[in-house]
Amino acid sequence: MLITKEEKTFRIITYVLLIFGVVITLLPFLYMISVSFKSQIYTFEYPPRLIPRNPTLENYINALSKDLFGRNFLNSLFVATATTISTVFISALMAYAFSRMQFPGKEVLFYILLLGMMIPPVMLIIPQFIIAKYLHLLNSLWGLIVVYVAVTLSMQTFLLRSFFETIPRELEEAVLVDGGSNWVIFTKVILPLSKPGLSVVAIFTFLYAWDEFPWAHVAIRESSRRTLPVAIALFQNQYLTQWGLVFAATTVASIPVIIVFIIFQRYFIQGFVTTGLRR
């Protein structure tokens, strides 16, 4: 292919703009990490410095020993894991029914379920609060988990159903000829072939549950049962000017997310694109 002079210039501009964009994107994070290594006297120094003077681990030691940070971290881990396992399981069952089985009311039920994708979750917080109160689910991690599963279920079922639809049905006919049941088809054909789809569901559900703030903020009042986002937000309120401490906490909270993200990077792209899922 011919490379014109215009294209060469364009390529240079491309790199310059991309590097500029990446700097704007990453700078706040680098700054956050930098401040987490600064001792209190340097967090308000002017002019601000990106590379910390006398870097220290004291913020991490303080944050981790402070109040219930470890407890909050474990709460988040439990809630996110339980939500993920339940969602993958429940949405796979539903997606299988919607994709492979015939039953009266199928269309209606599917459209009702899709309604869930269109309702902004924050809008439901007030009635959910009242229902959770009746069911004694306030101040309980299970109260978070059931709501998270319900909120994310529509999207994940929709995603998995589309994924199941792409699996050729000849395989199932072969199973049926051999005398296999729906259960065999589901566990031996559909699930093994759907690993990428199931991964997408798992990743998105985990991140959603790990990061969710509005419902956890309303539903949990007791500090020992808070999840990380709520704990960090209130942490910042409490230690208003101790930014080093706050950013040590946020850096620790980001670690699982970054790990999940880097390991499953290619699934992310697929997930975003196939579902239009927004976080």
Partner: protein, 307 residues
């Protein structure tokens, strides 16, 4: 979960599956969905017509549309709606524009493509709580990086700006945060659309002597129009639902409830002033407004695209 025990009992499960097992498969999911999504949705509508009594809901007083009337005539709500509309008008075009640029740049044959992609996605996966706190620090009055750049590097201002204390100025970091956090996601969606454009079209255009700018305006933009419409609608819905960043950065609408978004106002009225009827009416007004805007956008923007 509910189904945990049944799954262990495989033969029971198998039998049900064979005979009309579909409802059984749907039961756990639909149960959760009805309890925590559909029922709340209807319950909330009902609440919006009552002067809701939290201690004894049975004795709540039916007040017709008066919660709605109260909300619409509340100057604090009007201010919150104004802030939210401005937020949508700034962040939606902002995200689209930058995302399109990033996607077109990433589509080029460049080195380190994976690195650039990963870098741009980072904002998408980080929680709103964390990025809001980081922006609060960057925009802090005394030692914030933004003030340093504006005053001592670019010399654009003479004094440090107290971004977070002023109900109008605080909208600037909030809007910038909205754009900054959303660009990565929209760029991914655009990128997928760009990769669906057949390369022959560009090759034909080159033969016809088209430049890069012409390729973008005559081929790329018309062909990704459906994606553009999708993004405008989804981003607008997202913008009207702005919540966490406002709640944290303005500490719940301070000063004087002037810096609210619609949902932060809903939260404060409901959980601080315990006016559940007002809160429910607010969320239904917001939902109705979002629905209306989406329909208008889709009608205005959608046009068939032929390949």
């Amino acid at each position: 979960m509910k189904v945990g025990n049944e799954i262990l009992n495989k033969s029971f499960f198998k039998k049900i599956l064979k005979s009309k097992g579909a409802y059984f498969l749907l039961l756990p999911g639909m149960g959760l969905f009805l309890t925590f999504i559909l029922f709340p949705l209807i319950y909330s509508l009902r609440m919006s017509f009552y002067k809701w009594n939290i201690v004894n809901p049975g004795s709540s007083e039916f007040v017709g549309f008066s919660n709605y009337v109260k909300v619409i005539n509340d100057p604090i709500f009007i201010r919150a709606a104004f802030n939210t509309i401005v937020y949508a008008l700034m962040t939606v075009p902002g995200q689209i524009l930058f995302a399109l640029m990033v996607a077109i740049l990433l589509e080029q044959k460049i080195r380190g493509r994976t690195f650039f992609r990963v870098a741009f996605y980072i904002t998408v996966i980080t929680s709103w709580v964390i990025v809001t706190l980081v922006f609060e620090y960057l925009f802090s009055g005394q030692a914030g990086l933004v003030n340093f750049v504006l005053k001592d590097v670019l010399h654009l201002v003479n004094e440090k700006i107290m971004w977070l204390a002023n109900p109008i100025l605080v909208m600037i970091p909030l809007n910038l945060l909205g754009i900054w956090k959303g660009v990565g996601w929209s760029a991914i969606i655009f990128l997928a659309a760009l990769q669906n454009i057949p390369p022959e079209l560009y090759e034909a255009a080159i033969i016809d002597g088209a430049g890069i700018w012409q390729k973008i305006t005559k081929i790329t933009l018309p062909l990704i129009r459906p994606t553009l419409v999708f993004l405008v609608v989804v981003l607008t819905i997202g913008a009207f639902n702005v919540y966490i960043s406002g709640l944290l950065m303005t500490d719940g609408g301070n000063p004087l409830d002037l810096s609210h978004f619609i949902l932060t106002l809903m939260y404060k009225k409901t959980f601080t002033y315990l006016d559940f009827g007002y809160g429910s009416a607010t969320s239904y007004l917001l939902a109705a407004f979002i629905f209306m805007i989406s329909v208008i956008q889709i009608k205005l923007l959608r046009r068939r695209v032929e390949y």
